[in-house]
């Protein structure tokens, strides 16, 4: 039977990350949400403490965290702010393809600098016309001598305005469908990169989200990950790793909303007794607690399977769909428990509800997760 205890160093990692989240992120989450500004100072501090780029192996300067360690960190940071954690996770999403599939030379060249100073990375898959249907992307990579030429448009790219490095998915031939998809590394400042203006969003407003254009961007062959045509496999495996992280982020946000709701329910009195003494509220709190525990167990199992070297696609989708949907429900109920105050920006829960919505959408919508699950269980 599985041991449900964290290892002693995981307890400490969790405490350190949570302390940072509560002291440095949480008190300023509302401010950066309103300003719609990337909190570079906080992110740099998080990097200094080793909370960013958890996927980089020790050989290339990383801390060598397990996936379970990484989800513990992701949950803790999301407790402070889901939006800031999006900016942090986007680095992992972009660096994971390199960490998992890059050559030794590519890892040294691209990963090690991220361990030497705080740098930002972007994962570029989605396009204006292709969201969930990622196999039919239109961005093209055409061979030109020893190089490739990249052309196309990308949409909703997290960190785009600040990134030092982009991992871009493109096709060498749209007619090959997913067999033509290729992942390449594009460095900041390469000629032909055009970055759009920051999007105004409902939630995760402190994270930077933009459209991008690639106009005849020249990519040297040594920047192609694995070989041309292996991008689909890279993306799939990357998402197996990143979905537990994203699910953990939903969990952290939900836990934060739950803690606010519990505190408020104990303090706020109506009809002569605290909200927490009213059965209607007790039922809501109990349901929130069940969802949190289930989310956490799924997140941990999805991460543990990877650490055991086992296939986790189905469980990772369970975790992503369940934790994201639960986060939406829990944050919505937290607003409900706060009543009128919950709807006011003076109180922290409405932001959590806005932030929750995005987690049901990005990195595979809750519906796509169910399609993956159906495919897995029907196969």
């Amino acid at each position: 039977m599985t041991d449900y205890n964290y290892a002693p160093e995981q307890v400490e990692i969790r405490e350190a990350a949570l302390k940072f989240a509560k002291n440095e992120m949480l008190p300023r989450a509302g401010e950066f949400d309103q300003k719609q500004e990337l909190p570079l100072e906080i992110l740099t501090k998080a990097w200094e403490l080793g909370l960013v780029n958890t996927c980089i192996p020790t050989e290339y300067g990383g801390a060598g965290f397990s996936t379970l360690d990484a989800v513990i960190i992701s949950e803790s940071l999301a407790y402070g702010c889901m939006g800031m954690n999006t900016a942090i996770m986007a680095n992992d999403l972009a660096l994971l393809p390199i960490a998992l599939f890059g050559s030794d030379e590519q890892k040294k060249r691209f990963l090690t600098p991220f361990t030497e100073s705080y740098k930002i990375a972007s994962f570029c898959l989605t396009e204006p016309e292709q969201g969930s249907d990622a196999a039919s992307i239109k961005t093209t990579l055409k061979k030109d001598g020893d190089d490739y030429i990249l052309n196309g448009q990308k949409m909703w790219i997290t960190n785009a305005g600040y990134a030092d490095l982009f991992v871009v998915y493109a096709t060498i031939d749209p007619s090959l469908k997913h067999k033509g998809i290729t992942a390449c590394v594009v460095e900041k400042g390469t000629k032909g990169i055009e970055i759009g203006k920051a999007e105004h969003k409902m939630g995760h407003r402190c994270s930077d989200t933009r459209a991008m254009n690639f106009n005849n961007v020249r990519i040297p062959a040594e920047n192609i990950l694995m070989k041309a045509g292996s991008g689909w496999e890279i993306a799939k495996k990357t998402l197996d790793h990143s979905r537990p992280l994203v699910a953990a982020s939903a969990l952290g946000g939900a836990q934060c909303a739950f803690d606010h709701a519990i505190k408020y329910a104990k303090e706020r009195k109506q009809f002569g007794k605290p909200l927490a003494k009213h059965q209607a509220i007790q039922f809501m709190l109990a349901d929130m607690a069940i969802k949190l525990e289930n989310s956490r167990n799924l997140v941990h199992k999805a991460a543990w399977l990877l650490d055991e070297g086992k296939e986790n696609t189905k469980i990772a989708s369970f975790a992503k769909a369940y934790a994201a949907d639960s986060c939406m429900e829990i944050t919505t109920d937290a607003v409900q428990i706060f009543g009128g105050y919950g709807y006011s920006v003076e109180y922290p829960v409405e932001k959590l509800m806005r932030d929750a919505k995005l987690i049901q959408i990005y990195e595979g919508t809750s519906q796509i997760q169910r399609l993956i699950i159906a495919r897995e269980i029907l196969n």
Partner: protein
Amino acid sequence: MSKILVFSELAGEHVKTVTMEILGKMDGLHADVAVVGDLPQAALDDLAKYGAQNIHCLKGDNLEKYSPEGYAAALKTLIDEHGYDYVFAGSTSMGKDLLPRVAGMCDAGMATEVTNFTMDGGTFAGTRPFFAGKCLAKVEVQGPKPHFVTVRPNALGLNDSTTAGAGTKSEVAVSTGDLKAIIKEIVKGASNKLDLTEANIIVSGGRALKSAENFKILDEMANVLGATVGASRAAVDSGYATHDMQVGQTGKTVAPTLYIACGISGAIQHLAGMRTSKVIVAINTDPDAPIFTKADYGIVGDLFQIVPLLTEEFKKVL
């Protein structure tokens, strides 16, 4: 019968009130007082009134300014000469720093910052707070004598029915030896008010004050009341107030007769630091703020409206 020495500090022409509070509790026991340096007549009268028998003025080199080593050596000389069973002091900055050092010299035990005590049969038994007042415990000292005790200012109160003592003043020449740490400069604090730990009235502000400038409305009320201004940890962490103003478990534990909490919600760690205040007034917009559970008088209202009105009202009656 137990022989008791009370170490006392001067505050202007008088000794600090805590000395009289301690003497008042010694009714009927032989209690002497030690001070460093000269003692003004007014202070001497106070001490005699509250029951002091012999008053020793310690004099010698290296005693112009406080130093833990110098003052400790001086007290040790006096203790050795008279064979005291107990040495008391107020739990002031100096008392807290000095007494453990003297206790160490005597290989003796010490009870810190008691809020009440008895001397039944000449034996000390005290009550003292733990976890900044979240709970209380009984404290007893054993082993070599004398036993040392510091007492929290304002906790005992002044005992009116004390029998007067002889109040005989004498000078005691002491030698301190070389000092390894000395004061080379004293920088006066901006405030000429009593310290929070000694203040009779405290006006305290929380995060709801919204800025350091807004603390001036508390200053105005404090000036009318002769109060000291304190702050919650939230206000200190937000930079509205300095740390020496912080009341609570990681700040100062206070016991004034009147504590006025303005815009403080009442986190556990704040309540721990001020719950033993005799009378608590709380002002908060949130009717369910935990501070109201500890308040004798709660005003549900906006501090920016209530505090100026209170200040005006206090002006009228004081």
